[in-house]
């Protein structure tokens, strides 16, 4: 799991049976005490759980999560992308710019221009057991050995890496660079429920090469890609290219794809499975 904090942005990404929504009230109070009393944008997202019944409240279902978020953000919106009875990805968004449409709620306030922002997430399952064997404590004494052996250090070489290998297995890393960009990778290597997530906000005009490198590093049987980009982002105009091109001439079969246009962001969701697996 990881947390990233910058001047006015906070990111929390947690796995297992953690309860991130339960800290929301406390987080908002802390932010207010530090000068930030207005939420501009909120995004809550996750893939469908493998075992939703093991989760704790308020994470036992997306409806429960939405109810919880709605109690704090009454104008939020919820979405489900992908196939609801197979693999899907849930998203809840709140944007203050949506509220600004209503003169009853907010009036006479200056609309602040956004900074460029983009996030790509690659969520992988059914990973190659040999590749995953690197992320066991009995293979390496320290996480850096696993980082180098797997090739994680070459995915975005400008990143300064902080990595951790769990006992007996599992791996987390955060990477940050001088531009304030981040990457994060979390690995559950056990063969019966293997899972790897990759996420970064690096600004690229085309994510195809990056996706290829991540996929070649971890060798999943199937994966989901989501790309979020706001209207100031380099990625915004080029998401279409990925939409058309990525699965061409490769052994990846695109099993699902959806595009959403939000007021200030575009979202591309695509799901791929290995044609031969």
């Amino acid at each position: 799991s990881s947390m990233f904090v910058s001047k006015r942005r906070w990111i929390l990404k947690t796995c297992g049976t953690t309860t991130p929504l339960k800290c929301l009230g406390q987080l908002l109070k802390l932010a207010e005490a530090n000068g930030y009393n207005v939420v501009a944008d909120l995004f809550y997202s996750r893939k469908n759980f493998t075992r939703p019944e093991a989760q704790r409240t308020p994470h036992q279902g997306f409806t429960e999560e939405v109810t919880y978020l709605d109690s704090v953000f009454p104008n939020g919106r919820s979405y489900c992308l992908g196939s609801m009875n197979l693999e899907c990805w849930y998203l809840y968004t709140f944007s203050r710019s949506d509220i600004k449409i209503s003169p009853k709620l907010i009036t006479d306030e200056k609309i602040v221009d956004s900074d460029p922002d983009q996030t790509i997430e690659i969520l992988m399952q059914d990973l190659d057991p040999e590749t995953m064997s690197v992320f066991y404590k009995n293979k390496f004494d320290n996480a850096n050995g696993a980082t180098v052996k797997s090739g994680i250090d070459t995915i975005l070489p400008s990143m300064h890496i902080d990595d951790f290998l769990f006992d007996p297995c599992g791996y987390s890393m955060n990477g940050i660079n001088d531009k304030g960009e981040y990457m994060t990778i979390h690995i559950t290597p056990e063969n019966q429920f293997s899972y790897v997530s990759f996420e970064t906000n690096v600004a690229l005009s085309n994510y195809r090469k990056l996706i290829n490198q991540v996929i070649n590093t971890f060798k999943p049987g199937k994966f989901i890609v989501t790309i979020f980009a706001n209207k100031c982002s380099l990625a915004y105009e080029t998401m279409k290219e990925l939409e058309v091109e990525y699965s061409k001439g490769s052994h990846w079969k695109r099993t699902d794809m959806q595009c959403c246009n939000f007021p200030s962001y575009n979202l591309l969701f695509a799901q791929y499975s290995h044609a031969e697996k």
């Binding site: 799991s1 990881s2 947390m3 904090v5 910058s6 001047k7 006015r8 942005r9 906070w10 990111i11 929390l12 990404k13 947690t14 796995c15 297992g16 049976t17 953690t18 309860t19 991130p20 929504l21 339960k22 800290c23 406390q26 802390l30 932010a31 530090n34 000068g35 930030y36 207005v38 939420v39 501009a40 944008d41 909120l42 995004f43 809550y44 997202s45 996750r46 469908n48 759980f49 493998t50 093991a54 989760q55 704790r56 969520l123 300064h160 902080d162 951790f164 987390s172 955060n174 940050i176 001088d178 304030g180 979390h186 559950t188 056990e190 019966q192 429920f193 790897v196 997530s197 996420e199």
Partner: protein
């Protein structure tokens, strides 16, 4: 019972409106306050790294 771990993450991202005071910064929040916040999530800070723009925390779980 059969061993299982849910690798699928929950991802929460919040952007706050620009503050009129340039000294305001979420990175001014102390580690103790973050530990307190994260206790509600059921995870702990394992490791930290930072530069001039961003603080990063590796967490348990």
């Amino acid at each position: 019972s059969e061993h299982f771990f849910e690798g699928v993450e929950k991802l929460l991202e919040i952007w706050f409106e620009e503050s009129s005071n340039s000294d305001d910064d979420l990175r001014n929040i102390s580690r103790a306050d973050w530990e307190n916040v994260l206790s509600n999530v059921n995870c702990e800070i394992i490791s930290t790294s930072k530069n001039d723009i961003i603080d990063a925390f590796v967490l348990s779980e």
